[in-house]
């Protein structure tokens, strides 16, 4: 089946898969957003416990998606992996440390004799939420703004700035996407709490906070989108494969790929609708609209970066070192083999859905968190 596809078709298929993983990851970052609001939404111990447990039953899902996103990127576009990870060393290391401290915090937070103390683990969760989202957003923004690296004829890469990726975080436009992702993750978390926690006080606080977080998200998101539409982009000549700067490249991509334009606009509308019904009536359905909208919008952004003869990981140091889905990918054989494995994805989604449905039949409440004879596991 996949063997007969051209190399380009396989590369496009894998760019779609990587984009889906990236888009789902951004949606699932609501866990990180929620972690930055544990103490401001939970005023008592039991309220905080409800919030932590509500997030705690999802955190591993986000974490696994991040790992799989990285693994899939490595497998399908290894030159990106080697160039970006080996070059933007400090950005990835900061993201990494932010996730290491998260992984133990849920399990250890309320355990007796846990060495660091409950509040420290909550701080770890806060740091993960803050740093993880901003830096991931900033790293993705470099898909549009470029980085200072070169790749030689042996495909060995070299970062040309001693700051090793930290420079990306000092670029306002990269940062605008980072902050947009941060506030979006908080918006999604607030909508998620409205759906997943059965407690009037928390839901009401979440509704109030939604206004300011949604406002901040919109400011940074619009800043990023306006900048993106107006800036020159990294185009690839389909014949010679030469990379050159094209005015309004990403706007042209959007117009040139009507499906992506529809995905982008529909996504933004859905996010806004989710926020609207959340603010208006603390609707438990806001998370579904905003979540789907997030996936659709992020998917559209990834497509803008990788398709329509565009370099998805451009080099501002040496334009011809820029990475495209064609020059950075794995071989036809490997992409084919992995494409067969990708057929398992619907099955994986089905069992995840089934398992989560089974244990999330009702929202978290005080009774479940404080039951003395509880048979479950409370963080």
């Amino acid at each position: 089946m996949f063997e007969s596809l051209s190399q380009l078709a396989l590369q496009e298929y894998w760019w779609v898969l990587v984009s889906i993983l990236g888009a789902v990851l951004v949606f699932l970052l609501f866990v990180q957003g929620g972690q930055t609001m544990i103490s401001c939404l939970g005023k008592t111990d039991i309220e905080r416990t409800m919030i932590v447990n509500s997030l705690g039953r999802k955190w591993e899902f986000t974490f696994t998606t991040l790992v799989t996103f990285g693994g899939a990127f490595f497998a399908s576009f290894p030159l990106f992996y080697s160039t970006s990870f080996g070059g933007a060393y400090w950005v990835w290391m900061i993201i990494l440390f932010a996730f290491i401290i998260q992984a133990v915090s849920y399990e250890y937070r309320t355990r007796p004799n846990n060495f660091f103390g409950e509040r420290t683990y909550e701080k770890f969760l806060f740091v993960n939420g803050l740093i993880g989202t901003i830096f991931l957003g900033t790293a993705v923004a470099t898909f549009f703004s470029g980085s200072e690296f070169s790749v030689n004829e042996m495909n060995q890469s070299q970062w040309e700035l001693p700051t090793h990726g930290l420079e990306a975080a000092l670029n306002f436009f990269n940062l605008s996407l980072g902050l947009a992702v941060f506030f979006l993750s908080r918006v999604l978390a607030l909508l998620y709490f409205m759906n997943n926690i059965n407690d009037d006080a928390i839901v009401e606080r979440a509704r109030k906070r939604l206004v300011i977080n949604a406002g901040a998200f919109l400011v940074f998101f619009l800043t990023f989108v306006v900048w993106l539409m107006l800036r020159d982009g990294f185009a690839v000549n389909p014949e010679t494969k030469e990379v050159y700067m094209e005015p309004y490249k990403y706007f042209n991509n959007l117009i040139g790929m009507p499906v992506v334009l529809i995905m982008f606009l529909a996504g933004v509308v859905m996010v806004l609708w989710g926020i609207f019904i959340g603010i208006k009536s603390a609707s438990p359905n806001g998370i579904w609209f905003a979540g789907l909208g997030t996936v659709s919008t992020v998917l559209a952004l990834f497509f803008l970066a990788g398709f329509h003869n565009t370099a998805f990981y451009p080099s501002t140091y040496d334009l011809q070192s820029s990475l495209t889905i064609e020059n950075a990918s794995s071989s036809h054989y490997t992409l084919t083999a992995m494409s067969y494995v990708s057929l398992m994805i619907p099955f994986v989604i089905a069992y995840i859905w089934y398992a989560w449905k089974a244990i999330n039949v009702k929202p978290i409440d005080k009774e479940e968190m404080s039951a003395d004879d509880k048979d479950g596991h409370v963080y």
Binding site: R57, E60, F61, T64, L66, V67, T68, G70, G71, F74, A75, P78, L79, Y81, S82, F85, G86, G87, W90, W92, M93, L96, F99, I100, I101, A103, V104, E107, Y108, R111, N113, N114, F115, N152, E153, M154, N155, Q156, S157, Q158, W159, H164, S330, S331, Y333, T334, M338, V341, S342, M344, I345, V348, Y351, I352, A355, W356, A358, K374, D375, G376
Partner: protein
Amino acid sequence: MVENVDLSLVDWSRAQFALTAMFHWIFVPLTLGLGYIVAFMETIYVKTGDPEWKRITKFWMNLFGINFAIGVATGIILEFQFGTNWSNYSWFVGDIFGAPLAIEGIMAFFMESTFIAVMFFGWDKVSKKFHLTSSWLTAIGANLSALWILVANAWMQNPVGMKFNPDSARNEMVNFWDVLFSPTAVNKFLHTTTSGFVLASMFVVGISAWFLLHKRNQLFAKKSIIVGSVFGFIATIMVIFTGDGAAKDIAKHQPMKLAAMEGLYQGEEGAPLMIYGFLSGSDEERLKDPREDNFIVNIPVPGMLSFLANGDFGSYVPGIRDMLYGNEKHGILSFEERIKRGYIAQQTLKELKEAEKNDDLARYERLKLKFEDKEWLDTFMKYFGYGTYFDADPQKLEANVLELVPPVTIAFHAFHIMVGLGTLFLLVFALLFYYTIKNKIENVKWLLLVALWSIPLVYLAQQTGWLVAEVGRQPWVIQDMMNTRMAVSQIETSSVQITFWLFAITFVGLAIAEAKIMLTQIKKGPKEGGQ
């Protein structure tokens, strides 16, 4: 680029990776084995309906959860570090190595993380059978994760199923099944996972022994010992069996590693296996100053190494010197010759790239044909990685040859400690099972103490196993194709030093937290801890 690599950068990058991998490997074996032990126990609970088994299951499941979290935390670091610290390697083998890593994510990690949630949060939410299925799927998911990363590791020890593509300057996969089912991969997977079962079994019987020594929760402890000792005994036999397979595989594909593991400098027919021994002088001294006997003291078993390597007591096993300087009688090519041939392969690739750059198509096509010619590939390309050690000055070249010997002392001790402890564990499991069945176990205090103190020993055995596999193959990242110097990312050494210490501090903090939490839960015992 490669020629100018700062060696301290390589050393710090290696140190950082070793630190992370060894720390990760403290927690993973317990997850691999305890997952199954918990699933066995829950199966007995579901079959018998005896609430005591539910209590037992929940106690061990609780410890599983504490341990699991830190395994997850350290696992992601390894994935990142392949890119951050070994970027040239990531490209050179990404076409092969990346695939198992992606499959691991899609197949195994999601299975593990989905069903572990049901395991912990689903007791009163799903049916008994669904819960039991989730416990089994968590254990299977954890072991599947191990499968794919070990397939990738095995490929690095014995690269198969690929072809070098000079245009992309990397290895490309041509047969997925050869990569997945190479004997090295099969042996490595079975040997490593079953060793995890041994560790988890020892963890269970050791802690149960502690309860018996303190005369607490005796029924719980005895039942746990039965499950742990049976599982542990079977697993140890499998470890020995697969270890034998691994040794034969090493003899075939990594003879230098085998020679280092045994401190065998001069090859011989009917080569002895050391029960234990102490090497004389340093690694460097033994190489530069050849001697008759390289041991201060040793206990050899004649012919045993030959048997271990080739299944024949009289067969020939090459020593370190035979490989360094060649042995015509046994058809062993010297490393100096390999370096020269590897250098020719590297230069051919460079020339091809130059021809491509200069649009010299005729020359490009002529050179490219070499990479299709099986004889040229077997004569030169096979030694591609050795070319990095080339030097036009014969004296320097001679000195470079010595860099191709792994740290012998570390490999030797690590191997013998691992094997010795494995044998001890077999005995411990057998005796524990015997005395528990006879209902006398609480009176055999010395055995309970041995079981308890075997917990740190089983962790030591795991770490030494890692040392044998990874230090024993130095300096290769990919056997004969890429060394650590070629593989490393071009970053400032100071950056790696900073992250090394950040990792070290983080790991120490996490280890203390984990140990304190774990010990507190163990001391609480099954009644409280299991709830």
